[in-house]
Symmetry: C2
Subunit: 244 residues, 2 copies
């Protein structure tokens, strides 16, 4: 892990860009911390860190105000990272199905999401290794955001993650629905009820499948990107309850 730039934000939060091998990432730490901070990994959709930056930094600053360090990495195939022909094909198939008004088949969803999960999850785990070796970062660790299938897999395979806020809004392969039964950590799932691009029933099925004894679904209005402020506050309270 190599830090490549560093700046203080208005509120004193320290923002550092880094690379982990080929993968760019960003780490935010609270303005002042007397002890190693608990960490929240900030998941995000496959739109690239640059485009997601405004929303990510807002989440990082809210988390820092609650005493959390946050970090994110570029997803495979996003931003300036190389594209895979097979994934390009899956995206083209998806576009064709949606433009034709056809249901999106399980095959398309699998081809689109499963390779992404398979590659992204070990990358998040490598980032976690590096982040937890920093003296200013302690534990426990949470995961917050989408791609929801990445969050599910991480919750299953990564014992250092002890609570997760999962954002619905992307396709969920059948295999991930099955993996969800193995999740046991506390979960807080955000669903934008009127998100037209989201398969609401798939989210409800996924929520039902989770094996966790504490799981909460918060459904709100406001469209895909319109998560209300009070819903963000509730997610922050969830992490404060479980990671502090």
């Amino acid at each position: 892990m190599h830090f490549t730039s560093e700046q203080r934000l208005d509120d004193g939060v320290l923002e550092r860009e880094f690379t982990l091998g080929e993968i760019p990432g960003i780490l935010w730490t609270p303005a002042s911390a007397s002890a190693p901070a608990p960490l929240i990994l900030l998941g995000h959709p496959t739109l690239g860190l640059r485009r997601m930056y405004p929303r990510l930094v807002a989440r990082a600053q809210q988390a820092a105000a609650d005493g959390f360090a946050t970090a994110t990495i570029e997803l495979p195939e996003s931003g300036d990272r190389p594209r895979w022909p097979a994934a390009e094909q899956a995206r083209a198939d998806l576009r064709r199905a949606m433009e034709a008004g056809e249901p999106v088949s399980d095959e398309i969803i699998d081809a689109l999401v499963l390779p992404l999960v398979d590659q992204a999850v070990p990358e998040w785990q490598a980032a976690l290794d590096a982040l937890l070796s920093l003296p200013e970062i302690g534990g426990p660790v949470g995961y917050s955001g989408g791609v929801i299938s990445i969050g599910v897999r991480l919750a299953v395979v990564e014992p250092r993650i002890s609570a997760a806020v999962l954002f619905a809004g992307s396709f969920v392969p059948r295999a991930i629905l099955e993996e969800a039964r193995q999740v046991t950590i506390p979960l807080h799932v955000l669903l934008q009820w009127d998100d037209e691009g989201n398969d609401r029933q798939a989210t409800l099925d996924l929520f039902d499948a989770f094996g966790s004894k504490e799981k909460t679904l918060h459904a709100n209005m406001g469209g895909h990107t319109g998560v209300p402020q009070f819903a963000g506050d509730a997610a922050a309270q969830f992490f404060t309850r479980h990671l502090r």
Copy 2:
């Protein structure tokens, strides 16, 4: 409205029992209030006030800590109030269907719930008239609880109610689902996901139907009566956001 008894609880909350014509009720007001308090009407299932008292007083005390007065009345046919033969018949039909493992028909649900809503709603409105005439009670007014169909009808017909927390967990007639489209006040709906006696899909359909621009569904684990403490806190925050 006649007060029939009065006591101070441990935390200084003033609890007064009253009758409104034939209908018994309870009013709780905060220990100290400098201005007329906003009011939350505490809805509850048809188990009778006496049986519901422990849960009601806990909700009243939490609300009082947030500066709210709360009040509740006995529902028609509950507690010591007279039974109706038609409703007894509907309950017997329901028991028979459930014991036989048959689906509960729309006819049974209508016969069970609609007469209750038709009678209870004007009673809540009469209680509201009386409560708002007390100098220590101001506005705005919220409704909190079940029977969810009573809450829906009140939200439609009673303009003095400006926000509602609705507890899923009772049958919802088709006609109430239609009325739900006319609801426009902010709503916070609580669903116990693993409540076996509740028709989860009916609650999701009802939530979908509400016309409100701000509506939130909180689904949690813990069975019918096991609403987690943090979910109660979130409902309290909803009222603080809308009624203070």
